[in-house]
Point group: C2
Chain length 574, copies 2
Amino acid sequence: MSAKATATEYHPVTPTSSAPPSPLADGGLRVVALGGIGEVGRNMTVFEHADRLLIVDCGVLFPEDDAPGVDLILPDFAAIENRLDDIDALVLTHGHEDHIGAVPFLLRLRPDLPVVGSKFTLALLAAKCREHRLDPVLVEVAEGQRSKHGAFELEFFAVNHSIPDALAVAIRTPAGVVLHTGDIKLDQLPLDNRLTDLAGFSRLGDEGVDLFLVDSTNAEVPGFVTPEREIGPVLDRVIGKATQRVIVACFASHVHRVQQVLDVAEAHGRKVCFVGRSMVRNMGIANDLGMLRVPDGLLVDLDEALAMPEHMVAFVSTGSQGEPLSALSRMARGEHKQIHIRAGDTVVLASSLIPGNETAVFGVVNGLVRLGANVVHQGHAKVHVSGHASAGELLYLYNAVRPSNVMPVHGEWRHLRANAELARLTGVPADRVVIAEDGVVVDLVDGIAAIAGRFEVGHVYVDGLSVGDVGESTLSDRLVLGEGGFIAITVAVEASTGRAVSSPTISGRGFSDDPKALDDVVPLVEMELARTEAEGITETHRIAQAVRRVVGRWVAETYRRRPMIVPNVLPVGS
Amino acid sequence: MSAKATATEYHPVTPTSSAPPSPLADGGLRVVALGGIGEVGRNMTVFEHADRLLIVDCGVLFPEDDAPGVDLILPDFAAIENRLDDIDALVLTHGHEDHIGAVPFLLRLRPDLPVVGSKFTLALLAAKCREHRLDPVLVEVAEGQRSKHGAFELEFFAVNHSIPDALAVAIRTPAGVVLHTGDIKLDQLPLDNRLTDLAGFSRLGDEGVDLFLVDSTNAEVPGFVTPEREIGPVLDRVIGKATQRVIVACFASHVHRVQQVLDVAEAHGRKVCFVGRSMVRNMGIANDLGMLRVPDGLLVDLDEALAMPEHMVAFVSTGSQGEPLSALSRMARGEHKQIHIRAGDTVVLASSLIPGNETAVFGVVNGLVRLGANVVHQGHAKVHVSGHASAGELLYLYNAVRPSNVMPVHGEWRHLRANAELARLTGVPADRVVIAEDGVVVDLVDGIAAIAGRFEVGHVYVDGLSVGDVGESTLSDRLVLGEGGFIAITVAVEASTGRAVSSPTISGRGFSDDPKALDDVVPLVEMELARTEAEGITETHRIAQAVRRVVGRWVAETYRRRPMIVPNVLPVGS
């Protein structure tokens, strides 16, 4: 149990079995992430004490290549769906989609669940809920405040992130004090002067933090994140020398980034036009709440902007991740109806490049460059800084909080491990650093955190209007179809004899552009049908199986491909 | 024509029309890239003079998400397929797949085409041709040599790249002197002491270079590439402190990288085991040609390696790009039959992260970290350097060669534009820098390079055993199927009346895991069939169209999804 091991034997506690959780000891606190550990997104952590539950965050994950066609991935609520009435509150640390995006789906199950968060977070949530025709119970809190929800006493701390009004939350129960950072960084010169409350964390550390849940996103990155305000002068140089159209793309919730664009635009005599539904909506909210300073007359709408000389307006747009339907992508393809990029225009991608989006983003960059635009992005110029603490900042956090137990959250395995190592370097014993995964149960009992089993946690997919009906089997079919298409063989057989009453119809989609590609299949299938008939096989599923087998073998030998083979055997007559 | 424009008006010449090429002026030289401009891969440039052709490189492109299921993308030979006998030679600058991978496909069309290249390049090509059962005509050359092939006089220059024995080629015709860098960097302390021949380029510059084709890959990256030999000490630290298993993954053709692993392994008393078919093959070739120094007894095969204590062997493996079937990916998933990663093992990714592969590579990293491995990659440690000149090196090249005209090659638009800007900064007039695209015709006439039209150039896809039958229509079907699956509706109708003789069969794949998802479709289709019958519609394609329409509308309204709708209407009876 003690740290007698040599350096290379320092390993954090990791899950080793998939046994169901053992009962929670009396007086203990249970922690289970239903999302956000082992992945970047759909953050959701459930705390249990004295048979009551508290949830921190409820976000979505945006799908990658392994979930084609899916719009969103939700946390799996299965572990709590029989205990909905035990939930005392849902706490939201900030308003990003990966922290609030799944709230409407949880509220459908429990409409009266109190949702606790800061002013800006709740305003974004309220807008989202209106789209879902939901009317949530909102409990507004602010940094420095405390609140009590059933079994849980909460205290909120200001934290700095890439969205205003983010909070960390301390959770007090008789089992001990837990501190959850949410998403966090430690900009020491934040644009709104709202510092991450390291002093508050230190006071909590004096009191004793039994379990510290820490944002792992940038734990692999050495050093410190550059202050947000250093972007301003870079934008000033780029926009200052532009003589034509200027378009700045960034995240629609990054109020401080947009503020800097507004300030620079104003300084250079340009009006500003917001482009993109979420940009218009969020900046409206930020303006209403006094979080965005918009000089009178600075904003113009798209029609006004298009009527002005190009050098007198700056567009602030969504689409920084290469989303194919976004305005920016349409401009890059030359398909935007109103904004036509021409040689000498300036486009700034004042945004991160989220892993997995590289191809899409560089596709947009290439399209814009091809049209002659001068494209400025973080690869060349300091037009973006991360919202997540780098390793240097995380060390400050650990040294302020001095936790007894640590649980890295928000990240893939590589991030979690790097964060665990930082905890260890600041003196947390390796066996008090617990790396969990989604569904892994961590119990804090008598001041010691340990893994106590695992809930089955799946991915819940949203595709179009429905939730959950697209599952692993559908996705695996999509992957096969997307790689190789299908070959369908339709044949009508006499129900009583299994005799083919028509020639088989063969059609392929996603298989070949050659209209003759499948010409050899018909005689092959006819031979097989003659064989099944001769053997007296009348069951359509057995005929279909035989057809699938001969066609699958033929296509593998002839083309070395693996399309889906879809036999339709149709019984007709009596 | 002169450089009187202001700074922001400096624009290189770019293609503006898709007009077919005008005839080449007498005595002129024509340059057409059939691949490699506007993309990274399938490099192939065709030179024409006095009705004769010379080809430089003939590589493949590895497909991205927009070409699902495709194995390789070839250059489009359409522009030369009627002129195969006019080709005097194919010159290969080096042995990477994006420069030699499509040679077998060209040799199938013209088996006796002389293939000119360096010793190592031709050895890799010969191995490839053996797999394709081809016996090419090989013409070995080396740096400093000259050769003549029909209308073209060639001179070869040593260049440094991430594979040994790479060459640049100068092409002399009465139209002028052209210099093509191939892939190039300017490591000033190369591991094999074979410098890029900047002195030779300077001599050629004294003579006068009329057109300079320059590798654009890293033109956006400021500064200089770190020398390859600085990786050695890093590997030494990483492998030196390892107490368990060590696996180093890198490209199978990167002989110098592997050499450094061998040297470090030897220094630390570890034997070396090559893992992966191409690694074993290429290192065998390099060893045979004296390009890899392998101490006697250093290499062991897999069985020997597995029988040895873990700290006495290092594995050198393929799979550095996260290829799902590679040994490394199988280890990361815990599915490798013989090599089981355990906590404390060391894995080094001594390789680049090719854009588009991020998700796959980080998937492998996360899998290895989850198993407890210590994973070292270029994000943390200097275990990789690029094979392509950064901007600083490209400036040296331009200043040595002092070309009259410049044509950036090898890159996406963003790279080409950055390279054009470097040419301009060294004094090449903007209107003498020609950015082409695949198929764009650049004619050098009277010392001036200009765009003279465009050939239609498509993508030629290899999928399994066949070439070219998978085209844009098949790929577009695969994209639809991969996103939304399909719903097939099969119905038998009496041929004479159009009356349904069976209940419709509905099946969906890749649509939903819910077995009842399509229950509402049958009555809908039955109603529609009653309608078509009542209207006297008997043509199966019209019935199919009607069915497709009602089902498509239903699924859009009910699910807001867009699966492929596949009606099969089967006429039966007389």
